[in-house]
Homo-oligomer: 364 residues x 2
Amino acid sequence: MGKSTVSIKDVAAKVGVSTATVSNVFSGKKPVKDELAAKVRKAASELGYQVNRAASMLRSGENKIVAVVVPDLADPFFTSVIRQIESLAKQDGFEIILANSDNSVENESSRLDALLSWQPAGLIMIPCTDVLPKQLHTDVDGIAVVLADRVADKDLADSITIDNADAGNIAAKYLCELGHRNILLVASDCGIEPIRERSRGAEETVAGFSGSTFTIEAGSSPEIGAERLGKWMDRNAHPTAMIALNDMTTLAVLSCLAERKIEVGTGISVVGFDDYPWMIARRTPLTAVQQPVPQIALSIWQRLRARMNGDKSPPQAIELECSLKVRESAKPISANTENNTMQSEFDESLTVSIVPSARGKPIH
Amino acid sequence: MGKSTVSIKDVAAKVGVSTATVSNVFSGKKPVKDELAAKVRKAASELGYQVNRAASMLRSGENKIVAVVVPDLADPFFTSVIRQIESLAKQDGFEIILANSDNSVENESSRLDALLSWQPAGLIMIPCTDVLPKQLHTDVDGIAVVLADRVADKDLADSITIDNADAGNIAAKYLCELGHRNILLVASDCGIEPIRERSRGAEETVAGFSGSTFTIEAGSSPEIGAERLGKWMDRNAHPTAMIALNDMTTLAVLSCLAERKIEVGTGISVVGFDDYPWMIARRTPLTAVQQPVPQIALSIWQRLRARMNGDKSPPQAIELECSLKVRESAKPISANTENNTMQSEFDESLTVSIVPSARGKPIH
DNA sequence: TTGTAAGCGTTATCAA
DNA sequence: TTGATAACGCTTACAA
């Protein structure tokens, strides 16, 4: 085949029609007689013609492309959301261009620039921190924007988030009702609003049961999380239960416990976060707070589509509810055989201080 | 700000220079006096100007965009590869457009059409089966193509794969040296060449130790995999060891064993596939065959870049080696306390027949 | 070093 | 229903 430079002109010439007609056959914007259309299609496929999106986009201003920026492509929560968005987008004839901000604000900003130069019809962004890149305040007038998951400023654009405080509450309430009163909250990064909220929700609930919590900041990789958490565990009396505040810290908690041969459930009760196949591929399947991933993706796409279709209403802040998937990693306190003799309170004499029912100070 | 229709003309007008100069400032293709360039940049940012990629691409024919098609965005192996490719691409100024074929050949073909109409400079594809969509044989003359992971026809384009037979061999050899002779091979889909190869590699090695293997086809989701495997386990004598042939089947194996309260390692030895954080977040950390993900991504990008730079040499087939990450899920046969009394051979009387050292027939 | 102007492939307008 | 033609915003000869 030739140099892949088959244009609408070549097709038009071959069939003996105008370029406009060929264009209309493919865009469907104006009716073309079936017979003619068939001829055009035939000629096009013989020549190996493909519409040139760039030309089409330049002329029409329409683009059918949506930019997606996420903080971490290695985080299965984000990829599971992306996966569904991609599928929804495809149904509406949109293509996805993807960028990873790698949890860095500078990256986020530069990647955004790059994506925006494609003049996408829409932008879906999961910010990596509470502070949004400045382009979002200036450069995005023409384009539809939906923010998700980590959204500090809900007045800027539509946002899809979960009820994070309640997510914390759900986990805490369940543990408290099982009799737990000393609960360790394992956060990734307290600079992230949803994490703070989850922590706060759990703290308040535990306080309501006259229990105490402590929040540890474990970072956003399972490896360093396990290490930080391990250090803390080695220096402090153990809690009877732990709540991991996202998927990464869930892994950190489990790794840390595994290294120390502490049994999940019977040793220390654990409530994890999110829902992944590995959570049931264990001797003690993990009880976890589940985010409604399909609804999150759907809401994101619906909002974006509305905006792309010209919806000019004020920003909507959609908040979705989480639920608790009860499996076997959290047990009633009386069933705790290994640890519950050795502490009823955290040991306050140790290096790291206890902050019951307060926004936990990070431990480094 | 205005209707985001700030063009190079507006900038040129504001500064009082020609559009060519503005273009050169941003593209850097021709030198522009520093002083002037600074003025242009200033004006551009004041006006909120952004290059219009579509126009630029249309005129220059250069595109700086790479299409990526993978079979499953929920599979962490693929996302970990994508993640690295995205980062490499970014360094070279390329954007990634992403599509998910969802393990369907029709999808693969239609998604490919959509992506190709962007006239990307390159295409990276992880095929979902051995049969490649026909466009790859015709439509891609101008564009650079690299195939990865599942590549049946290595003469069509550059390919990056792993030595799949050896991957199977590595796992099998390790287990055999621990004394195992009855090994169950858990495949996802034997229609996928690499999976067949892994299976074959393991079979041959075990046969060399005078052991026997059986290959079960578990499908490509952990859930149905666990179920199929479970059914088989309930009807057949248990092997002393299992090898999971990819990440999904690793989960299937572990789930199945967990449901049946069979201890990993002491009950049945397990060698998994790939490397993920959850593998060490377990009481018995998982021994697994590791694919060299960073090298895979790097090789893919290097080949693609070479092609995009005009390399016309014959297709290269790059094959990378796997390694075994030894942890604790495979134990010497003598340490098997639960099961090794009850079988030394598979029970051939049961419904599912044994196919020692043969390409296992799928079980449905 | 900078300016002028043509043209990339498509779609939109207007006329037939 | 179809055709002719201008225009989208940019890059690139070529001229100055």
